[in-house]
């Protein structure tokens, strides 16, 4: 029953929050209306989302987000330096393959997205069997360290969150 009304409770939650941000102020009225939309829209779009992701460890999300934000700032500075002060010839752009332990598409997507959003690395492709991620590094003299870093900092946490 609940599953029928809330096919995607997380989505409903997201939508309610988005609605609040859209109307830009919080009141009971907006909350109720946001909730109505948060229920109706997932119902309408349910056919396009056949399976439902599960979050195993919601608290880890906050930690993950903070880490990522910090990494973004740091990486930004590093990359800015690279762009401005490293000669093109002395750069070490590299491809690296990251073997994936993650299995759910959502987790893989978040990982890939995170890698892309932190300057200096761009996730470029997934293996056809979904077991590896191809990442391009702007300047990685030590590719293995990058792989280890990504698996350690991000993938481990995502595994906890999603799987």
């Amino acid at each position: 029953m609940i599953a029928r009304i809330f096919p995607h409770p997380l989505l409903t939650l997201t939508l309610v929050i988005v609605w609040q941000m859209l109307v830009n102020y919080v009141s009971l009225g907006t909350l109720v209306f946001g909730l109505i939309l948060g229920i109706v829209i997932p119902l309408l779009t349910a056919p396009y989302w056949p399976d439902r992701p599960r979050l195993k460890s919601p608290m880890m999300i906050v930690e993950f987000i903070l880490i990522v934000l910090w990494d973004i700032v740091v990486a930004n500075i590093v990359v800015a330096k690279t762009i401005l002060f490293t000669r093109n010839a002395s750069m070490h752009p590299t491809w690296i393959t990251i073997p994936l332990d993650l299995r759910t598409p959502e987790a893989i997507t978040v990982l890939a997205g995170t890698i892309t959003m932190t300057p200096g690395t761009v996730s470029s492709d997934v293996a056809a069997d979904g077991r590896s991620l191809l990442v391009h590094c702007l300047n990685a003299p030590d590719p293995d360290a990058v792989v280890a870093d990504i698996k350690q900092r991000y993938e481990r946490r995502l595994k906890e969150i999603f799987e």
Partner: protein, 135 residues
């Protein structure tokens, strides 16, 4: 512009703005300077993250300081940028892999199937026909 702001408020906003401007510019500059398409792909991430991000934070702060109203719209913008920028980059990287990159330079994935972009539709069908009998 409403200027009933304290100096520190102004300075805070200004700092975010200046940082944003610098990173934004560096991003666009990187697009010109970097040597090959794949490395150039890294540049706009700055424009998106610290560039626009800084502007959005500045805007939020400005509206809080100057008008006393909290604006969530900046957060919306951020949300959308963070959702969409990886997709764009991903697709552009795939496009580069497809056109500009020498396949020999790309390391193989760990399994026995190639990178998704390098597997033709037919090959995929055959591979999936073997692994997923139901398909």
């Amino acid at each position: 512009m409403g200027l009933d702001m304290a100096l520190w408020q102004e300075i805070t906003v200004s700092v975010f703005l200046v940082v944003a401007g610098i990173f934004g510019l560096v991003g666009s500059f990187g697009l010109l300077k970097l040597p090959d398409p794949m490395t150039r792909l890294h540049a706009p991430t700055k424009a998106t993250t610290l560039g626009v991000g800084g502007v959005l934070i500045a805007s939020m702060l400005y509206f809080i300081f100057a008008k006393g109203q909290i604006s969530f719209h900046e957060l919306m913008i951020t949300l959308f940028l963070f959702l969409t920028a990886p997709i764009t980059a991903h697709f552009l990287a795939k496009a580069n892999l497809h056109t500009n990159v020498n396949r020999a330079d790309v390391p193989p994935p760990v399994g026995d199937r190639p990178w998704a972009g390098y597997e033709s539709d037919d090959a995929r069908r055959i591979a999936e026909g073997e692994s997923t009998p139901g398909a």
